[in-house]
């Protein structure tokens, strides 16, 4: 049952992970595990994140100054590293979203024309 979903996740577009993480963090600070689950759940399990690849992405975002991190205690009382959006991160999310929508529209057009 999960087979086709996995295929979809494996081909996740370059750069989309960053956007998804940023989007997830709009709701507030969260640690890696939460982020992974939010992405999975919100996409209704279409996007299955290979959880390990989340971390290089988080570190890259932090290097670019879009998120910042701090250690804290999680909801089930464990130590975890929390990430939150910075102002630059918010701006970046807006930009990425616009770009994404343009791409989606463009691709939709191409596919639509091809279908006709």
């Amino acid at each position: 049952m999960t087979e086709p979903k996995k295929a979809a996740s494996g081909e996740m577009l370059q750069g989309t992970m960053d956007m998804l993480i940023l989007r997830t963090l709009v709701m507030g600070r969260a640690h890696g595990h939460t982020i992974a689950h939010v992405i999975e759940n919100t996409s209704e399990d279409v996007l299955q994140v290979e959880q390990g690849s989340l971390y290089p992405a988080l570190h890259r975002l932090e290097d670019r100054g879009w998120v910042k991190s701090s250690w804290g205690v999680s909801e089930n009382n464990r130590k975890a590293k929390f990430y939150e959006l910075t102002t630059a991160g918010r701006k970046q999310l807006v930009a990425e979203r616009e770009r994404w929508q343009q791409v989606v529209v463009a691709i939709g057009r191409i596919l639509g024309e091809a279908a006709e």
């Binding site: 595990h33 290979e50 959880q51 390990g52 971390y55 570190h59 089930n76 975890a80 590293k81």
Partner: protein, 876 residues
Amino acid sequence: MNLRRFFSRPAADAELAQELEAHLQHEVDHNIARGMSEEKARRQARLKLGSVRRVHETVWERNSLEWFETMLRDLRYAVRTLSRTPAFTVTAVLVMALGIGANVTLFTVVRSVLLKPLPFREPDRLIQLYEKSPDGRREYSYIAGGMYAAWKKAASSVEQMAIYGTDSINLSGSGGQLPEKLRYAKCSWDLLSMMGVVPEVGRLFVEADDRRAAPATVVLTHGLWMRRYAGDRGIVGKTILLDAKPYTVVGVLPAWFLYPDTQTQLWAPIYHEESSGMMEAVDNHNFFVIARLRRGATMAQALSQVDTAEKQVRAAHPTPSTASGASARTLLDGVVHDAKATLYTLMGATSCVLLIACLNVANLLVARSASRRKETSVRAALGGSRWRLLREQLTESAVLAGAGGALGMLFAWLGTRWLVEARPEMARANAIHMDGVVLLFGLGVVAGCGLLAGLIPSLSFLRGPLLEALQDSSRATSAGHARGRLRRALLAAEVGLTVVLLTCAGLLLKSYNHLRSTDLGCATQNVLTMRFALPHARYDTAAKTAAFYEQLLPRLRALPGVKAAGVVTTLPGQGYGGDSRFTLPEHPDFAGGAVQDAIVRGADPGYFSALQIPLLSGRFFEDHERLTDARSVIVSKSFARQYFGDEDALGKHILIKDFDGVPPEGFEVVGVVGDTLWALTEQDTAMMYFPLYSGGWPNASIGVRSDGDVTSLALPIQKVLGELDPDLPVSDVLTMDQSIGRSTVDASFTSSMVMAFAVIALVLAAVGLYGVLSYIVTQRTSEIGIRIALGAQRGAVLRLILSDGLRPAWIGLLLGLVGSGFAVQLIRTMLYGTRALDWVLFAEVGMVLALVAGVACAIPAWRASRLDPMQALRTE
């Protein structure tokens, strides 16, 4: 991508591990909450997370800087390789450190002394003018006061022209301080302001001070002001006693002003100090002249103007002692000319040593890289780029050069301090210190050394097939041909440079020894000397002066331990001491009736026997020849020969123009004594001695001879002087040997330094020969084993190896001797009484080198011939 992150990678990695662990825990919690067993929950969590290692690697790589990392890796690799052979590394680093240290030291000195502009206002417009000496022997000689006046009128291309001279003067004791004899300078009023000096306190001279009739004024140097007057600003306007005459202090010079040397402590206006006769004479050469060029004017223009003026004056006053030409050089050259030859010679020597050191290290690296030839070839075969191999080699030599450089800079710092302390009298020694430019130079030298030592061994990577080595059988016999040639060329270059250094050092040493063994013409062992000057203010009559000497001498001779004592105006080796013009009544037509001049001395009756100057004919002075009864003169042997030829000088007369109250018929020659030299390197020995007791000789040197240690007599003699005149300062209390040593310190310093460098070079060359040959022998062990096993005579093996090492030595020796032929021309001016092309010395150097090279090569060769063939064949 920054360095901070690069270096904090391990910490970041640890944090990442924690983070991932936390993630796992959460996932496990999550899974358990979904009802999995703990084991399964854990397994699923792991699966879901994926490869932890890959996450680590991705993050780690993101944080790395590739070029930097490669460099670090190369560096680590180089350090490890080097630390595997500590003996080689330590030797190489020390050798480089010595070379770099010596070079940086010399550069520091050369830069501070020769290259930095003088601290005066617009120093590039300041020039120093000279007269050529009348006999044509000196290009840059003293200037007569009258000539200066003539020049000043004629030279339109200079803005200002000032004159100065130096002398010594007695500063009277005051406020519990002892009287002392100081060096002081007298200058025209505008000299100091022309140089851009602003007084620290008070004012400089004005035109009104610079007249004979003006009240006496003086400007103190900063040093004297601090030392003697504790920096009291109230000194301006006060009166001090100089030569027992009152002088008003008008100002104090700033601390940086140390011209013409650090010993000069006072300045006074020259036209006030000198008689108008002295300042008008055109043939009495006593002074120095400095001029400031007009903007846009050149030194050549100024020189041609003063030279024309000089020739006009000469035409109007055609005496033999009027010079007939002028010369000029920049003020900087005027200040440092003595140091120049020494410093450039030393710089040359240290450069040679550094080059030899680099070649040596390169040579050792070549040998090492030969042993890694197979490794390099394999790596090249597997796809290692040449650039990569080259980079490794360069990193290795850079590490060596870097370590050597760091140590070398330390050596240089110590060396510079030592040099300043060892040679405080060197021109501008006070200006010597290391600065940013020196540091840059040091870095440049280090980079150069690293490149040179690294590139030479790398040459073979850049050229030719790398894979050949793989084709050699594992029982490789002789090392590749190209490498052999390279090594031999390096050895030959090393030996050649060493030969050049050795010949130069040998010549300088020979010249110095020649100088030291020069016979001054008087006793020099166990002779103590000291000088004093009777101030004219208190010894204003001839009778007072004569009386002082007449009281002094018996007391000196009565001191226990004194074998003989004499007083003369200037002792042999203590300087020119002045001359006088004379004519010969018996030979009115001598040299066309021209006025002659010769060196003059005043001597007491016992002087000649005290200093063991031989009496050749006639007699010495007698005690009754005093004041106006002093009518006799004693001449030196060369004077007699020069002016009386084969005739008997005794009984002839010499008429002196410059003395007051001279006998109208002239002084009668009563004796002829042996020649003495006024300086070790000077040959004019025609001298006239007049009776000291005539009372006209205020400057005096005491010479005391004893049987043993003469220095213990210094205090008793000073006590005697103090009893006669408590306000009389004494200077230059030295033994005759010390006094001579002072004048040869330059030659001694240069020759011993160059010799030290030459010895270092020789050791390096020997080490190079020995090291490389030993290495070759090790390489060829199995080949030699086979030869011996097949019946080669041990003698033949010995010859084989020996010729391998000695051939480059011979070539180097030949090249070096040819090179020395050129190099010695460069140090020609520093040689005294020694021919530059001294074949004996060249032969000696050749022999020393052949011997050292022979020994260095014989040891490995002998070892090779003693090889046990069975063992040699098994070593592979």
